[in-house]
């Protein structure tokens, strides 16, 4: 008995001591002395029509407990039947991540008690995942590097298929967690939605770029999953969820430290912040001579910090064993080949193609991508605009408006076709840039197509030379002293006359043409 107590007291004492170190080491200092190693576990809810093991709709939301049946409620006697489409989607993901696809594997039961788990075990995969050993190439912003970016290859350990749990709502208490809550409500609509878990191999050697690398990986993975059309990958709705593992290794030691696992980091920005915070926190723990404790941590969006969850040293034994209610998954090589043949163009290949077609540098392309405007630019080019025009309107104009509105650029109420039409009108000389912005205002305000806005607001450039000459002559007549200076060779003075003409035409003249006409008149 005594032996048991003393054996248990070691780790728990360390937990308390480790937790007592609350300071942070400034990031730059931390990464100058420690090499971060990161790893990511990403859960993706698949966009299948039905749940993983029953016929209930696999949709987000709905009134609580309306998308349920005996199977996904885990009622006595019910049995699971695997969703073939979910298996196909998982193989699709595995292939896109350059994984090996198992020719034979099984589901396993992961046993633990929790109120939002209907059966108190989760049907998952354990030592026989469907896809193993792949990789994903990721580009990280690196202002210090040539071309402003750096490419890394993130190893993929495994991709496996499992079922999602229900959702608990803990009412009362201060933390929103089960401990301290007055009571809890459980919604099983989400229970049984197919969930794919994608686990990376440890990623080291990224140094100060570790937080950016984590973010870049999740971004790349999200784009990849979206292109595969297997999930709507909405982090805010929880269809893409990340657990971030972080550890520190004293620089040059080659010895990896103990990792922490930060759970449910649910936005791209949070992924970056969580890694950054863990680096700063763990560096402080190590600097004080303590050791980092293997544990689960929770990320707090408001403060950008993490706090300890349950210690993994007292981790549960999940008692995995092969799921006896399901047959093994044995995808034929023909099926896998057919899935491979049906893969769409993947984001990396598409980027390479678009960079060539648009004649932009990696850095310039990264700007478009970071602005979330790749699809919009591509669609605008497809609608007839040149790449330069499309980039100009989306990046210079619409991104700014999206930022002002706090919206994603892709969600602005203007179609790529409309942007292409604006560009066309500018190119034809019908609109000046300034007028074009007003047309975009009109389209965004819901006033119709660019042509309708031009007509309704009377925004077309005055291109009737007769009307323009009348305005030019009037301006010269009204400013004889300025006209005299221009005649005397002071060409720069013509600006005042141009301004007068533009004012007279309410800005709807082509300023370049106006200038030409003024200079012609005064030379004559």
């Amino acid at each position: 008995m005594t032996g048991t107590v003393s054996a248990a007291s070691g780790p728990s004492a360390a937990v308390e001591k480790g937790a007592a170190v609350t300071g942070l080491v400034p990031f730059g200092d931390a990464v100058s002395r420690y090499d971060p190693v990161i790893g990511l576990e990403t859960h993706v809810e698949l966009g299948t029509a039905t749940k993983m093991f029953c016929g209930c709709p696999a949709v987000f939301g709905g009134d609580p407990n309306t998308h349920v049946c005996p199977v996904c409620l885990g009622l006595p006697g019910s049995l699971p039947v695997a969703n073939r489409v979910a298996i196909e989607y998982t193989i699709r993901i595995g292939l896109a991540l350059n994984c090996q696809i198992a020719s034979w594997c099984r589901f396993a039961r992961k046993n633990y008690f929790y109120p939002d788990m209907p059966k108190n075990f989760q049907i998952s995969q354990y030592d026989e995942p469907l896809c193993v050993d792949g990789w994903l190439d990721v580009t990280i912003d690196d202002p210090g590097a040539e071309g402003g970016s750096r490419a890394i290859r993130v190893g993929i350990e495994r991709v496996h298929l499992e079922e999602d749990t229900g959702k608990s709502l803990h009412v009362g208490g201060t933390t929103g967690r089960i401990h301290g809550a007055d009571y809890s409500l459980v919604d099983y609509n989400r229970a049984g939605i197919p969930l794919v878990e994608i686990v990376t191999k440890p990623v080291d050697g990224t140094g100060e770029l570790a937080p950016a690398a984590a973010r870049a990986y999740v971004t790349e993975l999200r784009d990849l999953l979206r292109s595969l059309e297997v999930s709507d990958v909405r982090m805010e709705e929880g269809s893409l969820r990340c657990d971030v593992n972080t550890s520190l290794s004293p620089r040059g030691s080659g010895v990896w430290g103990t990792r922490t696992e930060t759970k449910n980091v649910n936005s791209l920005r949070s992924v970056e912040r969580a890694v950054r915070h863990e680096i700063e926190r763990q560096a402080a723990v190590l600097d004080s001579g303590e050791r980092v404790v293997l544990q689960t941590r929770h990320f707090h969006e408001d403060t950008g910090t993490t706090t300890a969850g349950r210690g993994k040293e007292e981790a549960q034994d999940y008692r995995y064993f092969p799921e006896p209610d399901l047959l093994p998954i044995a995808p034929s090589s023909q099926w896998v080949d057919a899935i491979r043949a049906g893969l769409p163009e993947l984001p990396a290949a598409r980027r390479a193609r678009l960079m060539g077609e648009w004649a932009v540098s990696a850095r310039e392309f990264m700007d478009i991508r970071n602005a979330g405007a790749v699809d919009a630019v591509a669609a605008t080019v497809a609608a007839g605009a040149s790449a330069a025009e499309a980039r100009k309107w989306w990046l210079n104009e619409l991104v700014r408006r999206a930022n002002e509105a706090g919206a994603d650029v892709a969600d602005l109420p203007i179609s790529p076709a409309a942007v292409a039409r604006v560009a066309e009108l500018v190119k034809a000389g019908t609109l000046s840039d300034k007028l074009a912005r007003q047309v975009i205002d009109g389209v965004l305000a819901g006033e119709g197509t660019p042509d309708e806005v031009v007509a309704a607001r009377g925004l077309a450039v005055v291109s009737d030379e007769g009307a323009l000459l009348t305005a030019v002559d009037a301006a010269i007549a009204a400013n004889p002293d300025v006209a005299e200076k221009v005649r005397g060779g002071k060409i720069a003075a013509a600006g005042a006359l141009v301004g007068a003409v533009m004012k007279a035409t309410r800005g709807q003249a082509d300023a370049t043409r106006v200038r030409e006409l003024i200079l012609d008149r005064l030379r004559a």
Partner: protein, 499 residues
């Protein structure tokens, strides 16, 4: 009560109803009357659904009156083990933890029976969650053996067996995980079949051990068991382990009853020391009888059968420890201690502590241990290897013989209370039946007379290759016919417990 009707076979009842000589309503009334008369002594049922049974019988009569075709068992009453979900009746699995639960769906077996026009009389008693060999593990008290009310009817499907042996129903449905149909059939003097694993659907069968659980028929004649087998069996897309192949011609085989030229293998590992002498004597006579009917005999060793019991008591508890985790007071059934001061975990623990009986807890603990990290390979992993070896023993044996035979149980029905405090003695009741569960092979118990030492029924077990269930019925029907001819009257006429 019309004692004539309740003593009729299911085949004769169905024929009488189809011909209009009997109405389904009167057949149902006769059985409800018999239940009324003997149930307080036998305690076969946990729930009798008289009104639903009457309505189902009337529907069959109306169907016949309208000239619509009737199924082969239309209008025949049946006792359903309380482990299958039923929308119109409680489903308790013999456990306090499910007391009061009304399932919102019918098991596939329940649905198939209803669609065939079978009249469900109610739900029968069982060892809690099908764990046991006597019904003494039922939270609602034991059933009694109609041959001797002081003895057990076997288990876990003891309620269905007692109902059929006690003439409360001509047919019963049970489930067999380690012998839970064959052992009660043997000790009650009935025919009980465990089909090939996956031949009968598990959807709506509350799981004990998923890789072993098999629904099957209990009846007083081989033909009746075959008729019920045919109604129950068939592919079910809701059960992934369901076999997608045609149902073997079991009814035709039962009618054929000819075994000339068949090679019968005797398994020496399922015999000898520890077996009741009277059981071995009747078994030996039955084997001789098979030979006299034209079968060739051969001894076939299955060396790994010896390890069957040990492997079973690791695999079945492991699966049950996971299957029974869902009984957590959250969504259905019993809830204890929810007074607003306790956490969900505390309510779960209190409910499971008070809702599960001792044997269920014992097996949950055994299984939890066997699956634990660090023990898995030595226990669960090793047991799965034994399972593979037993399956290979069967395959090798069936390269030499058409069927294997053994006693169904080492002893006849034991007295109530004798083994409740000795789990190992209780587990030994399934010694001979377990190998077929581990391998998935079909097996059936057929009466082979009364033990000379105690006058109680002895069962002979027949085992066949996977999906050759028809061979079981062919051999059983031949033996049954020969024994009935020799005796001159049905075996169950000797059952005096309810006289």
């Amino acid at each position: 009560m019309d004692s004539g009707i309740v003593r009729m076979s299911a085949a004769d009842l169905a024929a009488g109803i189809a011909a209009g000589d009997l109405s389904a309503a009167e057949v149902t009334e006769a059985h409800l009357g018999r239940i009324e008369a003997v149930e307080d002594r036998v305690h076969s049922f946990l729930h009798v659904s008289a009104e639903q049974a009457r309505r189902a019988a009337q529907a069959v009569d109306a169907q016949r009156a309208a000239g619509e075709p009737l199924g082969p068992l239309a209008g025949v009453p049946l006792a359903l083990k309380d482990v299958f979900t039923t929308m119109d009746m409680p489903t308790t699995c013999g456990s306090a933890i499910l007391d009061g639960w009304r399932p919102p769906y019918d098991a596939t077996i329940t649905r198939r029976l209803r669609e065939a026009g079978v009249v469900l009389l109610g739900k029968t008693n069982m060892d809690e969650f099908a764990m046991g060999s006597s019904t003494e593990n039922s939270a609602f008290g034991p059933s009694r053996n109609p041959w001797d009310l002081a003895r057990v009817p076997g288990g876990s499907s003891g309620g269905s067996a007692a109902a059929v042996a006690g003439f409360e129903a001509p047919l019963g449905v049970g489930t067999d995980t380690g012998g839970s149909i064959r052992q009660p059939a043997a000790v009650c003097g009935l025919v009980g079949g465990k089909p090939t694993y996956g031949a009968t659907s598990r959807y709506g069968l509350v799981a004990f051990a998923s890789s072993l659980d098999t629904p099957g028929p209990l009846a007083r004649t081989v033909l009746d068991a075959a008729l019920l087998h045919e109604v129950m069996a068939g592919h079910d897309p809701r059960d992934s382990t369901s076999v997608d192949s045609p149902v073997p011609p079991v009814v035709a085989a039962a009618r054929q009853a000819d075994i000339s030229g068949l090679t019968v293998g005797i398994v020496p590992e399922l015999s000898g020391e520890g077996y009741q002498p009277g059981v071995l004597a009747r078994f030996a006579e039955a084997v001789e009888l098979l030979e006299s009917l034209g079968a060739k005999l051969m001894e076939v060793s299955c060396p790994h059968f010896t390890y069957g019991l040990a492997a079973y008591y690791l695999i079945a508890p492991s699966e049950c420890s996971s299957n029974l985790a869902r009984f957590d007071a959250m969504r259905f059934g019993l809830r204890c201690g929810d007074d607003g001061t306790r956490s969900a975990e505390e309510v779960m623990s209190l409910t499971r502590e008070s809702g599960f009986g001792a044997e269920v807890k014992r097996r949950i603990m055994l299984g939890t241990y066997a699956l634990s990290s660090g023990y898995y390979d030595a226990y669960y992993g090793k047991a799965q290897q034994v399972r593979t070896l037993i399956t290979r023993d069967f395959q090798a044996a069936f390269e030499q013989v058409d069927v294997l035979v053994s006693p169904t149980t080492p002893t006849t029905a034991f007295p109530i209370g004798e083994r409740v405090d000795d789990p190992m003695a209780m587990y030994l009741a399934d010694l001979c039946t377990i190998p077929a569960n581990l391998s998935g092979n079909p097996a059936l118990s057929v009466p082979c007379g009364l033990s000379p030492d105690d006058g109680l029924p002895v069962g002979l077990q027949i085992m066949a290759p996977v999906l050759a269930d028809d061979r079981l019925y062919r051999v059983a029907a031949a033996l049954e016919a020969a024994l009935d001819r020799r005796r001159g009257y049905p075996l169950l006429d000797d059952a005096k417990g309810l006289a």
